[in-house]
């Protein structure tokens, strides 16, 4: 489906009246179904605000937000989210943490009681995909940062959301773990093909993972550039060091420094 996510000249001003900060202005962009899109931009450009607008957590001050052909007028229930902070619940084991969405989203919520075993089975399969199968019964504090982030990705995907929103999910990890998780994320995406919007400030990450990269301007944020990344899938880490990717990273970097100096 073309334009699964469609933002049309969206503006968002925090606070009431006309006094709050203008976070987004005249922002338009589209994401097709099953497409992997990355959004990059200078810090404070409103990337996280964009996430909240798309998922319906914040209503836009102006403009229209459509997801799946419908106007967004309340929080969507088809979304999975993961953040820089893994935000696992410390009183739950890994498996029970990743099954949290199933306790909320219908139809899983009503079926969970009878089908707990089969749901748990699919939860374990997901953990296996990210290499956490031996840690299902562990508590978050028993996991390393990278493992917690894997679990957080699983939690975002367990209910098979149509839309996956990732807000700098790997920003707090060391480079090796980060690259490892890029591959994990690619694998998850290839296996399930959700529509992904990844917000990041890591340009290599954006180029390696996404089909398309949007560049945002400084606050108030709007889209100032768009690049297609035509690399074959599944991609390998080495590709991110090849001329095509390196050049694109340089080009994106220039866009961003231009956006920063424009302030």
């Amino acid at each position: 489906m073309k334009n699964f996510v469609h933002l049309d000249r969206v503006a968002l001003r925090y606070g009431e009246d006309n006094e709050g900060t203008l976070a987004l202005q005249n922002l338009s962009f589209q994401v097709d179904r099953s497409e992997f899109v990355a959004v990059v931009g200078p810090s404070g450009c409103g990337k996280s605000t964009l996430m909240k607008v798309v998922t319906g957590l914040w209503p836009p001050t102006m403009g229209r937000v459509k997801v799946g052909g419908h106007e967004v007028d309340r929080p969507l229930s088809i979304t999975g989210m993961a953040f820089q902070n893994p935000t696992l619940l410390p009183w739950r084991t890994t498996i029970s943490n990743i099954m949290l969405p199933l306790e909320i989203v219908e139809p899983h919520r009503s079926k969970l009681k009878h089908d707990r075993a089969s749901y748990e089975e699919s939860g374990r399969k997901l953990l296996e995909l990210v290499g956490l199968e031996d840690f299902a019964g562990h508590f978050p504090w028993q996991l390393s940062g990278g493992m917690q982030q894997r679990a957080s990705l699983c939690r975002a995907l367990i209910h098979e959301p149509a839309l996956l929103m990732l807000d700098e999910p790997f920003a707090a990890l060391d480079m090796f773990t980060r690259e490892e998780l890029w591959l994990v994320l690619q694998e998850l995406w290839l296996a399930r093909r959700p529509t992904v919007i990844l917000v990041t400030h890591d340009l290599r990450e954006a180029v390696f993972l996404a089909d398309r990269v949007y560049v945002m301007s400084a606050r108030p944020g709007s889209i100032i550039a768009e690049r297609k990344v035509e690399l074959p899938r599944p991609r390998e880490l080495a590709m991110s060091y090849e001329p095509f990717a390196v050049n694109m990273v340089h080009e994106l970097r220039e866009h961003i420094s231009a956006a920063r100096s424009a302030v």
């Binding site: 229930s77 909320i104 939690r155």
Partner: protein, 278 residues
């Protein structure tokens, strides 16, 4: 050669740790015993009159002599404390959830609650006597009034400080406000809640005894009042001893429940298993 030495050193090291642990267990008892011993020496050395400061031996003798009335009154105090405390848990939890989960309720009610909490509860007891007469009811209410607030504040704090990102995760799944409270807010506030129980049970106990002293016809507080008015100071001290034993017991129960219920929040500090993560 060194290879042969290492295990022995390690065994000694282990033994040292075990010995250290045993010492840690015994230490509180040693401290209590030392306090009583010093007290006894002090009274004997300065030849202090019994009605000023009785020696521990005299206190224990009085406690033994009067053990039936002491136990009877202690039971009364325990019951009033327990009833007041249970009400405090019930209302503290409900009000804490309401105040913690809604900024409107918080803004509206919190100042009034703080003002109410600032009133010394001893001053309320005479009013309670006018309303309910002398006896059990004012003691139960005083226990409730004192222990209600710490529970409320802690539960509210636990619920109000849920990470906004975590709320977003749930809300982006279409979770209702109540679901967010039930799945995250309540479990998250449990360590706060159980920690507050330790404080609350102790102040509830103080509340009962104060009310019994001011307006009781039974209970440890009343027993101490009667004893001191008759100059039976060792008995009054025996009553004090009883209250402190009961206080320790209740605190121990509350903290045992806390450890059982919210072990995830105090991992590692009390023998929780540690699994190194890679």
């Amino acid at each position: 050669m060194t290879e042969a030495l290492v295990p022995i050193a390690r065994i000694n090291w282990r033994r040292k740790i075990t010995r250290h642990k045993v010492f840690r267990r015994v230490l509180p008892w040693l401290v209590i015993f030392a306090i009583f011993a010093l007290w006894q020496l002090f009274v004997m050395a300065f030849d202090i009159e019994e009605f000023v400061l009785p020696a521990p031996t005299a206190i224990f003798a009085a406690a033994w002599q009067w053990h039936l009335p002491i136990l009877d009154n202690a039971w009364q105090t325990f019951m009033t404390t327990a009833i007041g405390f249970l009400f405090a848990i019930l209302f503290g939890l409900l009000a804490g959830v309401a105040i913690g989960s809604s900024s409107l309720v918080y803004d509206g009610f919190y100042p009034a609650l703080v003002g109410f909490n600032a009133i010394p509860k001893v001053a309320v007891v005479p009013i309670l006597v006018i309303w309910f007469g002398i006896g059990t009811v004012p003691a139960v209410i005083t226990a409730f009034l004192l222990s209600f607030f710490p529970i409320l504040v802690n539960v509210a704090a636990g619920i109000a400080t849920v990470e906004p990102e975590l709320q977003d995760v749930l809300r982006a799944l279409g979770a209702s406000r109540w679901q967010v409270i039930r799945k995250i807010g309540l479990p998250r506030s449990m360590p706060y809640f159980f920690a507050s129980l330790k404080v609350a049970i102790t102040v509830a106990f103080v509340g009962s005894i104060v009310a019994e002293t001011v307006a009781g016809n039974k209970g440890i507080g009343n027993l101490m009042l009667v004893a001191s008015s008759r100059f039976e100071v060792p008995l009054a001290f025996a009553g004090l001893l009883m209250t402190s034993v009961m206080g320790i017991a209740m605190y121990a129960i509350a903290s045992a429940i806390e450890r059982k219920m919210t072990g995830w929040a105090t991992r590692g500090t009390d023998g929780g298993t540690f699994v190194p993560a890679g």
